[in-house]
């Protein structure tokens, strides 16, 4: 009997030991690779096994299950918390899906949360309706993942187009080239800098702005002078540190840190006194610069001055003022959101207007005329976003970016070329498409062992009548990092 007891005990202790070793193996991932996948058509995750490494899709009201079990994305965005046993350097996301999209919702993208403070996701295209089906009547030329569509067949190859673009530009007037998912660091800017106003004078952004913002400015003489002040609303419980970062292209050239050492208590609701900042740089190259005010929504950029005639906010403004707001924008649409009932109002863009009635609902206001339009608000508090820039005056408006080829792209009007870096999806059985995306995730945000994965279909809402959905069969995330051997070798050599 004692022998039986001993054998049984050794058996289950050994089993527990094996489980511990298994967990240790998963945590270390000695091969440097780890895979998380979920096939929605099979219901593994019930009685006999653990939870899914992908987590549940949220918010739950934006998804449903089809009869065959596949996941239906009815509105966007949809989030997943992807478990990983440790931090990795690269992630490959493979999605099997069947899109039912329209011209109002032509783009399906996916990505990871890169910066939690700014709630910034890094997205890559999964499916682009226009690029998959081709632009009717346009001529297509491809080279690997680079694809060029031309209204008239002017270029025989991508390399021919790129060399002409770099040398002399391809647009005779205005911006005739739209880009999608393109790395523009080696490409010329959309503006001819020699045509910019070379006068050096101060510009002040006309309104205080809440939360993170980015600006374009131009330095004709290589000198950069920025100054301003910030205030803390003290509504949330977190410390509200901020940074002012200056970039030349993708390269950061200056930084000012503004730590939260303000005396007012967090969550007190007491607005802090203005905290001034100043940044000066000389001996820079004359040219375009991007300034980023990196801060949470509890901070206000109370004032911002630049020794540059050009000062334009990029893609977003959230003006803070009780009085009326009047700005200019070069995009033909606005996405609007209010988080405070006091901010609900009628917004005017050019000749079009829209009345906002609900907070936390994203509205879209389109104006069919291209060119610079006036944006008018009765008072501040509304978050205005588009793919263009906002400025206080026509003289200070500056946009060196090419138009983005998204659902707002003016296809029929001004574009002659569309250049995109895009992998066509591969077609499998029963019409299932598969797309693979590659991300460098080493700097991405990871909390409690989970990365935040987003599926985004801009314009796909439950209540706007655009219709459409994405049917997802499987999501597979393969993580890659240093193997145990590489890590040990690194430790020994260092």
């Amino acid at each position: 009997m004692l022998k039986i007891i001993k054998n049984i005990r050794i058996f289950w202790l050994a089993l527990l030991g094996l489980i511990v070793l298994f967990f240790a193996y998963q945590l270390v991932s000695p091969t440097g690779a780890w895979t998380c996948s979920q096939d929605f058509s099979r219901n593994y995750y019930g009685l006999l096994s653990g939870s899914s490494c992908l987590g549940s899709a949220s918010p739950s009201e934006r998804v449903a299950r089809s009869q065959n079990g596949s996941l239906l994305v009815l509105a966007e965005p949809v989030y997943f918390s992807v478990f990983s046993p440790r931090a990795f350097s690269r992630a490959e996301v493979e999605i099997s899906y069947r899109p039912q999209l329209s011209s109002a919702t032509p783009i399906f993208e996916a990505g990871f949360l890169a910066d939690k403070k700014l709630w910034r996701y890094q997205l890559q295209p999964v499916y682009n309706l226009w690029l998959e089906r081709g632009l009717a009547g346009w001529h297509e030329v491809a080279d690997g993942n680079l694809r060029l569509w031309q209204r008239q067949p002017k270029f025989d190859s991508i390399s021919d187009f790129l060399s002409t673009w770099r040398r002399a530009g391809v647009c005779t007037s205005g911006s005739c080239l739209a880009v999608y998912n393109l790395d523009l660091t080696q490409m010329p800017p959309a503006l001819n800098l020699a045509n910019l106003n070379q006068v050096k004078t101060d510009s002040i952004f006309p309104y205080a702005l809440r939360g993170a913002h980015q600006f374009y400015l131009y330095s004709p003489d290589g000198q950069l002078e920025l100054s301003g002040s910030i205030q803390d609303l003290n509504n949330n419980k977190d410390r509200d540190d901020a940074e002012i970062l200056v970039f030349a292209g993708q390269h950061q050239i200056a930084q000012v840190s503004l730590p939260d050492q303000r005396p007012e208590l967090e969550e007190s609701g007491n607005i802090s006194s203005a905290q001034a900042f100043k940044l000066s740089k000389e001996d820079l190259n004359p040219g375009l610069y991007r300034v980023e005010f990196k801060a949470g929504d509890d901070l206000i950029l109370a004032s911002f001055r630049s020794a540059s005639i050009y000062l334009s906010a990029i893609n977003k403004v959230w003006p803070v003022t009780d009085g009326p707001v009047s700005l200019l924008t070069d995009a033909s649409y606005l996405q609007l959101k209010a988080v405070d009932p006091v901010a609900l109002q009628t917004v005017v863009l050019g000749q079009a207007s829209l009345e906002m009635k609900e907070i936390y609902r994203q509205y879209e206001l389109r104006h069919r005329v291209n060119g610079v339009q006036a944006v008018t608000l009765e008072r501040g508090g509304v978050v205005l976003e588009n793919n263009g820039v906002f400025a206080g005056s026509a003289e200070s408006l500056l946009n060196p970016d090419y138009p983005r080829f998204d659902r707002f792209a003016p296809l029929a009007e001004q574009l002659d070329f569309v250049l995109a870096e895009y992998n066509l999806s591969s077609v499998g059985e029963d019409g299932w498409l598969t797309s693979s995306l590659d991300f460098a995730v080493s700097d991405f945000y990871r909390e409690n062992g989970r990365y935040s994965l987003i599926l985004s279909v801009p314009g796909l809402n439950l209540d706007n009548g655009a219709g459409g959905l994405i049917e997802i069969k499987e999501i597979r995330v393969r993580f890659y990092g240093k193997s145990l051997w590489e890590k040990l070798r690194e430790l020994v050599l260092n």
Binding site: F23, L27, L48, S51, F83
Partner: protein
């Protein structure tokens, strides 16, 4: 002889029940520690509700069997 075989069989079953309780308790403890240090790892591979249910069943069976 048959009586002896039945007695031995009952002893072995009782023993198995007890050891099952020890094993499942150890597994739940391992799971709790694992989740504390590495959230999500244990839940990924084990259905905790099932393990806890089996543990309860084993304890009940053990108590009933011993009582009997």
């Amino acid at each position: 002889m048959t009586e002896k075989k039945r007695d031995i069989s009952r002893s072995v079953v009782a023993l198995l029940m007890k050891e099952a309780v020890y094993f499942l308790s150890g597994l739940l403890l391992l799971g709790a520690v694992c989740e504390l240090i590495f959230p999500g790892l244990f839940l990924l591979y084990f259905n905790v509700a099932l393990v806890a249910g089996l543990w309860l069943v084993a304890i009940l069976a053990c108590l009933l069997y011993v009582r009997r």
